[in-house]
């Protein structure tokens, strides 16, 4: 029997959800608002919320000073490339762990996750030196590889969780019908796991898009993505908050729009398996 919820309770729940949502979104909203202020308004005390002279000056300054499209294109390639490469490697890995587990599968999964516990700066020098030798510094391919490696444990874990929900009997039936391993993964497993794969892709694109340690440390002028674009507007000696906000808004806009349009997919994917 469904639990009865009173009207009053519903209103309280809705209001609480909106309050939490707004609280979480407020820093982004404030950044967007600040991007339309002058530098003086951006630091005024008490702060002005909406009653200011809206200006697009910061955006025109940022567009004039920086080659936004180059940073954007680099971000798209690095985030997209690392995610796709990661998915290609993770699907077979997650398949084997979910459907043909060995005694050590749990240990391997935990070991993979443990690589996330190492502070990135601890391996900065070795990776930097390797990329110098390989001539890969300041290239998009270097960042695609590094970000793929960083996010691979998460991708494998997420896919493993989704695959575990799919009954092994279906795959078994496919095998009995003569499906090869490739057919089984490609035509039976993958279509059934589409919501899970889609949300894994989305989450990893977001993670790769926002990654700021490696993208700042391994790039110079050619492969720098939007994180470097934002960093170029931050200054400890000079109040350029409005311009910094404009640059930040331009950097997060594409991923914000992507997240907005795919939120249904994202939420259903992330809660997949939570309710049995």
């Amino acid at each position: 029997m469904a639990r009865s919820v009173t009207q009053q309770r519903k209103i309280i729940n809705t209001a609480a959800a909106w309050a939490v949502g707004l609280l979480i979104f407020f820093p982004i909203l404030w950044t967007i608002l600040t991007s339309f202020k002058t530098e003086a308004q951006a630091i005024s005390d008490p702060p002005v919320f909406l009653a200011f002279d809206w200006t697009l000056e910061n955006y025109s300054v940022v567009m004039e000073r920086s080659n936004y499209m180059r940073f954007l294109w680099n971000s798209v390639i690095i985030a997209g490339g690392s995610t796709l490469l990661g998915i290609l490697i993770a699907i077979p890995a997650a398949w084997s762990m979910a459907f043909v587990p060995s005694k050590r599968t749990k240990d391997i999964l935990l070991w993979m996750l443990s690589t996330k516990m190492l502070p990135a700066v601890g391996v900065l020098y070795p990776i930097y030196l390797i990329f110098i030798k390989m001539g890969l510094l300041d290239t998009r391919i270097a960042l695609v590889i590094v970000l793929m490696l960083i996010n691979l444990p998460i991708i494998v874990w997420m896919l493993y969780t989704y695959f575990k929900e799919i009954p092994g009997e279906i795959l078994e039936a496919a095998r009995m019908d003569g499906a090869s391993l490739r057919d089984e993964v490609l035509y039976v497993l993958t279509p059934m796991a589409i919501p899970g794969i889609a949300s894994t892709i989305l989450l990893n694109v977001i993670l790769a898009w926002n990654e700021a340690f490696w993208t700042l440390n391994l790039t110079a002028a050619k492969a720098a993505p939007l994180t470097a674009f934002i960093a170029s507007y931050s200054s400890p000696e000079g109040l350029f908050y409005a311009k910094l906000s404009a640059a930040s808004t331009m950097a997060i806009a594409p991923i914000l729009i992507l997240g907005w349009f795919s939120q249904k997919q994202l939420v259903s994917g992330l809660t997949f398996g939570a309710v049995k």
Partner: protein, 433 residues
Amino acid sequence: MSLKTALCAATALTVMGTTAAIAETITIATVNNGDMIRMQGLTDDFTAKTGHEVEWVTLEENVLRQRVTTDISAKGGSFDIMTIGMYETPIWAKNGWLVSLDDLPAEYDVDDILPAMRGGLSYEGTLYAAPFYGESSMIMYRTDLMEAAGMEMPDAPTWDFVAEAARAMTDKDNEIYGICLRGKAGWGENMAFLTATANAFGARWFDEDWKPQFDSEAWSNTLNFYIDLMNDAGPPGASNNGFNENLSLFQQGKCGMWIDATVAASFVTNPNDSTVADKVGFALAPDTGLGKRSNWLWAWALAIPAGTQKEAAAKEFIQWATSKEYIELVAENEGWANVPPGARTSLYENENYKEVPFAQMTLDSILSADPNNPTVDPVPYVGVQFAAIPEFAGIANQVGQEFSSALAGQQTADEALAKAQALTTDEMEAAGY
């Protein structure tokens, strides 16, 4: 000369000419501040003159420092020119990481560079980085509040006068605080200010045997004076305030005095951003009568990492960006108040520049700082607000945390000094001093 020889010679000359004129693309790592952004906007002039293209990597100061240090120590070769400061230059030059700039042509007039800047950017007498602009620190004060307090700011005040004036100007009910000083932890934040202030109080980081001196009376006087003054006349939450926070407070009319980088003068007098633009006066950073003032010395300079494939083009750029002609180019396009200050003597002899209100005080501040003789008692290190040894940044960051927490009231000044002494002793012993 035979025809064959003549032809050979002509071919050789043509090849040489072509090589010299090869247009390169150089990559420059730099910081995000007004002067550097202006330089980026004027790069077309360089390209038109030399044919070389420039790619800019602009980063926030601390990110830049980490980025270029990683690259140069690993010999990554990502950059052809790096923007570095007075702290890095002698250390990196000693390591052999930088190309020397001792072969600049006569028309560049290297002797025109301010001696203090040249000294701080040289190692064993050889210039390794060319100053793009230099700065010191000075007092910026509100002339109206000073007058209301019935006091008059001398050109070269003492700390006692500054403290008295700060307490007299303070009106906490109306959110007016007599003095705004750095409190945010960091070697380039509160420690830049406090190390320079300690110089005026007769304190020093190390004695001549590299023994830390935080247990000295002079350091105790410095830190107690600073904390007492900030408690009486400083803004709330001062332990979180750096340059930008204090700039914001000053521009909104909440600070009676602010002692910070001379570059701030152009911000606080800009009527577009500052509500007190027409009420700002300038004075030298204070002293205590011991012969040293509390001002620092810094330069953002352009240096070429050893091993770059484009050394010739990089040198051409440095000659262009730090030349007298560049200063005139900026003046033509943006006005004399916006030219990069503090690098060349000739700028301060320029009649147009003398009309800029803060020009003379900036020069006087720069000239009164001596990186080779920064303290009352002798020291084994070079640097006014830092000691130019590789260990300094790490140690000063930790000491800065202790001093910042003392300002926040989480411990006493003497406790903070005892911890500073212990941790500095440990670090220096571990480093083999």
